[in-house]
Symmetry: D3
């Protein structure tokens, strides 16, 4: 266990004291002397330029850092700290550009390309869901599988007269660009009224497995996750967790809430069901603090990010 990479304990220093970093880990931005020792890194992408409705996800990383002071280091079921086994830190935020969509996509891609080259596996806090596209561009050399927790497919063709880059289109683009292997892609928690069925039709034609929330509720989360693990197998996958997967009673702070979703307990079950897969990167996106008076959404986001890391590090078998 590397002492440098341990989080500050709330038993020693109160959680409300000190600078906010993800999980109270050390801050190790690119260029830091400990950069080369990193195995994993929490990253923020404070950008919401792809948002078609309610903005605010640009403020997500900061609030998730604040809330993550609540997260202690030992996992309640595994009874073990992920930081005992690997070196992880807060890598800071990608320096995005709120005044230009294209420039921001390039900046994000470059940051993740560097991570990929340096062998650091990222767990990202968004930002809106469009950020997953440049993350994949930077991270992936050949098509990866994906498990996506979301109430929307984000497979739309375009908005507002053919505009191709919004938070409703990243995975359409990712499939088109050969970043994702649609036959090893599973979308879980889909629900809510739809513009039309164009996104669903596209996904189906490509072989994406789509699990509507009704199926999820009827079969149970562990059962669906077992199927998902079978579909993605042991080849590399990316995991994308849109906070609107969770019901808005739990996570009101998001831009496009859809009622009738899973509980936070089910969200934890879902992420824990990733154990045994081969995750090369993960994100948790769409936390929008201005729409969350009590801050509970960011707490779910922080907990999910911790669980994502645990799923990737502590074991390789489902719990």
């Amino acid at each position: 266990m590397n002492e440098f990479f341990q989080p500050i304990s709330g038993l020693e220093t109160p959680r409300f004291a000190g600078l906010s970093t993800f999980m109270r880990l050390p801050y190790v931005p690119p260029g830091h002397e400990h950069w080369s020792e990193l195995d994993f890194g929490y990253v923020g992408v404070p950008w919401d330029g792809g948002t078609t409705n309610r903005p605010g996800a640009r403020h997500g990383p900061r609030q998730v850092r604040d809330s993550s002071a609540m997260i202690r280091s030992v996992h309640p079921i595994r009874r073990r700290s992920p930081y005992a086994d690997c070196n992880c830190a807060d890598l800071g935020d990608v320096p995005v550009n709120p005044a230009d969509l294209d420039d921001s996509l390039k900046r994000v891609e470059a940051f993740y390309r560097k991570l990929s080259r340096d062998g650091i596996v990222p767990v990202t806090a968004g930002g809106d869901h469009l950020i997953t596209l440049p993350i994949l561009r930077g991270l992936v050399q050949e098509p990866v599988g994906m498990i996506q927790f979301d109430s929307h497919t984000d497979l739309y063709r375009g908005y507002f007269g053919g505009y191709r880059y919004t938070h409703g289109t990243p995975f359409r683009r990712a499939v088109e660009e050969g970043l994702l292997d649609p036959r090893r892609t599973v979308q879980i928690g889909l629900r809510g009224s739809m513009y039309d069925t164009e996104d669903i039709d596209f996904g189906r034609s490509q072989g994406v497995r789509m699990v509507m929330v009704e199926e999820l509720m009827e079969r149970s989360v562990p059962d669906v996750m077992e199927e998902a693990r079978t579909i993605v197998g042991t080849a590399p996958i990316y995991v994308s967790f849109d906070i609107d997967f969770v019901d808005p009673a739990y996570a009101p702070g998001t831009g496009t809430p859809e009622i009738g979703g899973p509980t936070s307990f089910q969200a934890l079950q879902a992420v824990r069901g990733l154990a045994g897969t081969n995750v090369v990167g993960a994100d948790m996106v769409e936390v929008s603090p201005p729409f969350d008076p009590s801050g509970g959404t960011a707490l779910i986001g922080a907990t999910v990010m911790f669980e994502l890391l645990c799923a990737m590090t502590v074991g390789k078998e489902p719990p």
Copy 2:
């Protein structure tokens, strides 16, 4: 499909742009040139003069309109738009009188009598639950059945020394006035501490079927809805959805919340379970924006109103 009666799509015009109407449908108030083409209509009754505790439901219709910009036109399970099959619009608000209870009841009754005569089936946003009484007076010529989703029976005799018209009494009055057939009336989701058992005793003596939330949770929503459909049969029914049916974690913005209620997922199951019945009118009441810091209650209300319309239009068999 009548082009005039289609909602504005969020793929074309952002959801936050333009005037707020229910579901972004056209505004067709009485006297409008398209009035005679209407099959269904969303109506607001911004009135809370029957409220015995926390007021604010008078502001419900406006916030539900705002939130309904989130609702797209295609149902996620049926994969079909209700607006493809029938003409529906926002009929505006009934011009109620906050300074006089009796006058308001008369204004509401008159509005719905006109709808009844013109063959328009209403889906109403309240307002407090007392509004269902004048709606029934205007809408119904002979006793109808009812499926009521609610945490309270609203069957009390009177308040504050015998005052007969409050949001705790509408269905006592409706039974007394011959508007409701109690033997074809089902109340689902009842819970919470009670003043006494006078309302329950009355309902039982009249033959009302009362499903406490404990029974609902144990048997499951689809199972209870199957029984409800059997009880009401195929004769005309009215559907009344009090937002306090849903647990206050999901719907805090209401005047008389009761903990221990169903989730929004269960609420959707419940409304979808209406398919196959013969609904002559429906309402969603008691959304009180001042008690809802994040606005999630109105989003549930708007979604429920959309599902009510779908249940009444898209098919006649349970899903």
Copy 3:
């Protein structure tokens, strides 16, 4: 039925009128002429000096009193008022000292010692969880069993360099002081990341039965409560309900929320599952109004306090 000890009815006086007391019961502080007639008493302990993270539980009793105006007198399942069978009142708040931890612990102990001597069974509103320690000191002559609903064990050894009295340590102290019998102690709902496993190890070594939330969800609340009743038997127990037992979507207003918890429906099931046990005192702690924009947490707290009283009075068999 003693008329003096009946709550004010919302059918007679609106719930928002009049002074706020617990459940709108009469206010009977020590020294009151009716003191000697009391069987039970609701008490407030407005103190949060043991809080290691977000404070505010000192404001809990006042907000719970306000919210308790929503609670009527008749239990929805038993269809009976607990106040018909016994004399209960609002005993006021213990006069604590926010400027001194030790002095406050002594003041609380003294208050409960008097209750114990006068044969009044308390249902307390906290305050943070450290208050349970002086309550037990005042109330208990020999070790009692305990059923604790909580997301944390509160069995830690100390904080911030060995400080022994915080809301994370009361039950470690209570076991050490011989106030609790650990083999008749059941902790239900445990979850969330941990500093280490020191608290769990201590509890296990002492024979405490710990039910993690995952077990609770899988087995169901009634099933776990049946086991709990078996463990504690019919000898005296204390019941401690930390509001963070409930998921923060339901109860955001608390200092140390942990996601993935039970619903308010499950909370009611849990408290109702106490029927048949021999409860000599109960509390509901950690409601922190400043972190609860919509006030729903206090409503759960008030309802739980009512259910606790019902579980202790109306019957002795599980429902």
Copy 4:
């Protein structure tokens, strides 16, 4: 100094502890053994049935009581406690009827008639502004003068087709009923857009002195108050303080806010300028907690009520 009538000191018992009464004074409702010793009384009228726009003033008295725990007993300028010179208490709330406007007006009138007979001078917390009408009916035998702090004249003829009793009409009615002497009536702080000039024309024709906020700001509050004192002289007057007199940045929690108003400092200057007049009753109305996220409006309301009492008791000369 009568010990019984002293408020609880925050130096002894923390302000957040104990039951909420106005200014932490003893609770002395009608029938109480100390009733006959009272000189003054704080009263709540939790009623908003006259509200034409945003409701919620029915919750005003409770929140003002809570906030009044902030108010200590000694006036900062006079350096003296009003409770040293006279007996004052919290008389509780008038038991109004939210389901009936006429019945409520009668209940309020009867309560104040009793106060008048028993020689108790009331300082009232509303409730909406219509409550001043029945207060005057109960309190006054012959026309009194009035100093009214308000952004509206409340002199309108009627609403919604001739309805005569709303919070926009009380002083029209009071003049018509001979309760107010319009030539000894001063309205201060008027502003905001108007329906028409009918109210202004009526007031002018009756001799009411109306001070628009522009004049108030230009001349200064003490200067205007000097004129007001000259107009009302030493004969009996009533004082009515609508919280919307204060700018909504200071007092957002009200039903009909008008921007461009005085500060809370100016509000204190205004009330202190009453010293030397002959006040037979006073109220502070229109605090609506649901529209006040931070509770500051109620704190202004509580402070104003304290200053009203001081203006009436501690001295008879302007400061």
Copy 5:
């Protein structure tokens, strides 16, 4: 007085009833049968793609419409309705594109070009301050003067490495493009810490008159407005009112608040000081509802829009 163009009165229909339009005026979008009769129009531009910090101004028009239900038709000082003298309506929102900055600028420009051609003078609700640039492009054929109420100059050269279009740069661009005559431009209320002095230096070199808030407070608003009127003379001017001109205690709901600003009373004085100038268009921008828990910012925005119209219509001499 044209009956069609009169707002709905709150004396007839409660303010919370009916669809939300600016000032409750009729909705007359382009193509409407009454379009050609319009003299003035309230327009919404729901776009915040130029925002460098906290977003949300895209939601401004909707909330300003809602709040504008508070505004009655008669001006409190002039005692006259602006709608008696001219035809004004709600023209709806410009259909902007949240996914593309350039496309949005073009859409806004086109809308205002049409207004200019059709002789309709716009009073616009933003949106962020970048929208004023395309408004000017559409509205203006030769350089106009400007009176700008703002805490920032918005004269910066660029952001984030030379990006030229943000809400911090519109007037730099407008001067460069020959839309504004800098020597007839007055900026009032400037304050707050600065990145550097580049914007100030540019403005000064061009002849812009900049009134810091310190000068405004010392000299008084009417005195500064008199100077401003002298500077701009009687040739055409545009008026731009950034809501962050007002102190954030009054207007917290904005993206870049600066403390130490004017009151809402001073804001009204400022707008009223425009009377006598030759205004060819006006806007009120930067209201961001997600940062305004009590909604007071939008009420100021709505009142300012009403006062802007009055200043442009009711008279031509300063008050």
Copy 6:
């Protein structure tokens, strides 16, 4: 100008990106390689164990850091950056102990003793006002003068039966301990109801100059500050700014608000009036985020901290 000690510019990196430090300055905790180069330092003391009423100031430093991202580096009047002339950084938080008052006082004292020895002048964010006592203990070798902006004297003898250490007593203790020279101590902005006159009497007897808010408003802030500078002269002084100096409309997020206070504009005038004095340390205390729904209080706090630094560095003559 030392490049290392420059804040991150919002023109380069958006304000919402990156870790939160005071004013976006580098984080230089004790032991950091650049520590010895420091002239000034922003410090947090996240502790509220001296609070007698509403807690939460422990969360102040974190929220002030977040809000301080709004503060740019150049002062609007001086047109110069304080960071151009001296080295300043964020020194982090003092590691306090929420479970023990005495231990916390010692930890704070030790931290400031180190600063004093190392020649670093601190600008501190509290925390409640009791923290000023250990700051003075650590910082001061002989009695210093003080200018205190506050609505309370904080000169009380004790609370709750003689407890000597609360946020109402620090300056009584500081005078008793010889840390403060009362004859060179000026308290500005005092107001609000009082427990008694014991604190005022003590202060007067010691020679403290107390300026009530009424005097401040009548004379103007610059005039009072001129007197204050004369009283303290050029010998060392400490400056303590309690955020409750500002009116609660501006700064609601504090534990003990008093209405009728100065505006934020007047607060800036006050701090700027310090120029020319010899300040050896300063603090800004009592920001309590849980009571501040819109976050404006922390923005005032951050701005005041920036102005304090400017007053201490950029010039030595009043503006």
